[in-house]
């Protein structure tokens, strides 16, 4: 599903150049649940941004579902993001003046899906994350866990090839974190490919594979026995 070859990325900091990613190679197959781990500054967020087409790579190649991702203009990148990717952010990033169901329907709007169908689909995904009865509420009326579940429903709504979660539990307490991870595991059980960036070992252990980044290189890439979050809920 995802193929990374010899990926380099550096940032210009004034006159200095900061080499963040130093030649990464890895593949992710369909249906995997991968945790990208590493301490702060290890380059894990940069990697996710590049995979998410929110940032551009300097060297190397990136292929997503057989499509080479390079030299994208803004419009093309937006279309690919819309078609291939679903994002889950640490700070939820819901639009505060839109209700839960409107937030979930937004990616469908940019896909050009008709109004009625958008509404139906959005409700279906809200139901999947267990928030159907909260559909008409604004983000400010929801708890942190609920917000993240709305964000997950929104990411799912576009029916993307890959879900990308950037510290999805970073702003949540551990009980709510496990609830969210339980949801992510269930979505993965349905066959979705999911990438989780985290620095918390217990969250990483709930994935099926852990890629460990340190100073811009992969130091460890191992399959793990998945810890089911449902046992903590």
């Amino acid at each position: 599903m995802i193929e990374i070859k010899d990926l380099h990325k550096s940032y210009k900091m004034g006159s200095n150049s900061l080499h963040v990613l130093k030649g990464l190679n890895f593949n992710i197959e369909e249906g995997e649940l991968v945790a990208i781990m590493g301490s702060s500054g290890s380059g894990k967020s940069t990697l996710l941004n590049i995979l998410g087409m929110l940032d551009e790579l300097d060297e190397g190649s990136y292929t997503l579902d057989g499509v080479p991702i390079k030299n994208l203009n803004e419009t093309k990148a937006a279309q690919y993001r819309n078609k291939f990717l679903g994002f889950i952010f640490q700070s939820f990033n819901l639009i505060n003046y839109k209700t839960a169901v409107e937030n979930v329907a937004l990616p469908l709007y940019y896909q050009g899906v008709g109004r009625k169908e958008r509404q139906e689909k959005a409700l279906k995904y809200l139901e999947q994350v267990g928030l159907k009865e909260w559909a008409g509420h604004l983000p400010s009326e929801l708890s942190g866990g609920q917000k993240q579940r709305v964000a997950i429903a929104r990411a799912l709504a576009a029916e993307p090839k890959v879900l990308m979660a950037d510290e999805p539990t970073g702003a949540l307490d551990s009980k709510t974190s496990y609830e969210v991870m339980d949801l992510i595991q269930k979505i993965n059980d349905d066959g979705n490919t999911i990438l989780v960036v985290t620095h918390e070992p217990d969250i990483a252990d709930m994935c099926k594979r852990i890629v460990h980044l340190k100073d811009g290189v992969i130091v460890e890439d191992k399959k793990v026995d998945q810890v089911r979050a449902s046992q903590y809920v």
Partner: protein, 409 residues
């Protein structure tokens, strides 16, 4: 771009961001309202002004006789100059190409009686063409005519207020009044927009007046109406050649400041026009300033709006909004708000102006109005600049990487 869905999304955004909508709408509506009111009031001021000065005709020269102050061709200084009937004939003969009419005016005060009513009035001996000079409107009966002048009839045309004073509710036409000891028949009643004084005048044939004054041929002053086609420059040239002609005829030194005075209404008219155009310039400047302030106001708000939405736009971009979609949603929203509120401001302004009518007459403002085209143009300009002011930050926002926009708190 113009699908129902796009508009639905925009209406939703507008509805849910009431403060933002109100701010930008209010700025535009207020700007247009002030613009329409100011331009309207200035137009009202000009209306009053024109009314003031357009009562009497503008294509006129007044000739006043004076006393000479320089000895010339054997005549001593201090000689009183007088106009007489031969001057009228000479001017008619020599300046026929330029004159439309010429009329003398002999003013005398006198007691006028009808039955038991009497009062003091100014009695003017004039010719039939004086009607054009004074812009007199006949209410009933007729004005003096050529035959009256030739036959020196004892006919009088009286002002509306003279009729009111002396006759009350009676009809004055055909009645006989006593003017300073002579009996005149009232043949007409006139009105005049120049005010009460003008409507307390009595006109009689100047020939009759001359007959009463021992059959003299003297006239007091001459009023010449020149053809309007000759224009301001022509009027000035006419004035100077007329001056020269009369000085030759009456043996007055060309260097004499006195002797003859000519008042050229065209000159005064030009001054009035200049005053009016200064007024128009000031009004234009104020209107321009208002529009400029409106443009700056709406630009500020648009920059603020886009800044405030940076994060939202980042989220939208991460979800697949193309730069085009981002720009068009911002622009359509701003153009929609400014158009609606601009038209509202314009309509309110026009409604205020038309409701005023004559109410501000005490402040010299009559029938304020604005050219609808100008009002629409100003509204359009504000909408256009609102759109431009929105486009620049929107374009920039559409180019920020979503990851940067998302970091914006």
């Amino acid at each position: 771009m113009f699908s129902r869905d796009t508009w639905h999304e925009i209406f939703e955004t507008i509805q849910k961001n009431k403060l933002r909508t109100f701010l930008s709408g209010f700025t535009v509506a207020l700007g247009i309202l002030i613009f329409v009111s100011l331009v309207g009031l200035t137009n009202g001021l000009q209306n009053t002004f024109n009314e003031f000065f357009s009562n009497n005709s503008n294509n006129m020269l007044y000739l006043f006789p004076g006393r000479t102050s320089v000895p010339y061709k054997g005549y001593k200084s201090g000689r009183q100059i007088e106009f007489d009937v031969s001057d009228i004939k000479d001017i008619e003969k020599n300046f026929s190409l330029m004159t439309e009419y010429i009329t003398p005016r002999i003013d005398r005060g006198g007691v006028v009686k009808y039955k038991s009513e009497f009062n003091n009035y100014n009695i003017r001996g004039v010719s039939e063409s004086f009607q054009f000079a004074a812009n007199t409107l006949i209410m009933k009966g007729r004005y003096l005519n050529k035959e009256d002048i030739r036959q020196k009839t004892k006919f009088a045309v009286i002002g509306r207020l003279v009729e009111q004073d002396l006759f009350g509710s009676e009809n004055a036409i055909g009645a006989y009044i006593d003017i300073a000891g002579s009996v005149f028949k009232v043949v007409g009643v006139f009105q005049d927009e120049g005010g009460d004084d003008e409507e307390r005048q009595i006109y009689i044939p100047y020939t009759t007046r001359q007959l009463i004054e021992k059959n003299t041929d003297k006239v007091d002053i001459l009023i010449i109406g020149f053809k309007p086609e000759i224009g301001y420059v022509g009027a000035m040239a006419f004035e100077s050649s007329l001056n020269k002609f009369l000085r030759d005829k009456k043996y007055i030194s060309p260097a004499d400041q006195n002797g003859i005075y000519i008042r050229n209404v065209a000159d005064q008219f030009k001054q009035n026009q200049q005053f009016a155009s200064v007024l128009a310039y000031i009004a234009g400047f104020i209107a321009f300033g208002t529009i400029l302030a409106g443009i700056i106001g709406i630009s500020n708000i648009m920059v603020f709006v886009v800044k405030e939405r940076t994060k939202e736009l980042g989220i939208r971009k991460a979800l697949g909004a193309t730069p085009r979609a981002v720009i068009s949603s911002i622009l359509l929203e701003s153009v929609f708000i400014t158009t609606i509120s601009g038209v509202i401001g314009m309509v309110i302004g026009i409604a205020i102006l038309s409701s005023l009518g004559e109410k501000l007459k005490d402040f010299f403002i009559t029938d304020p109005y604005i050219n609808i085209g100008l009002a629409f143009f100003a509204t359009f300009i504000l909408i256009l600049f609102g759109a431009i002011a929105g486009y620049i930050p929107a374009k920039r926002a559409s180019k920020i990487k979503p990851i940067v926009a998302l970091r914006d708190e």
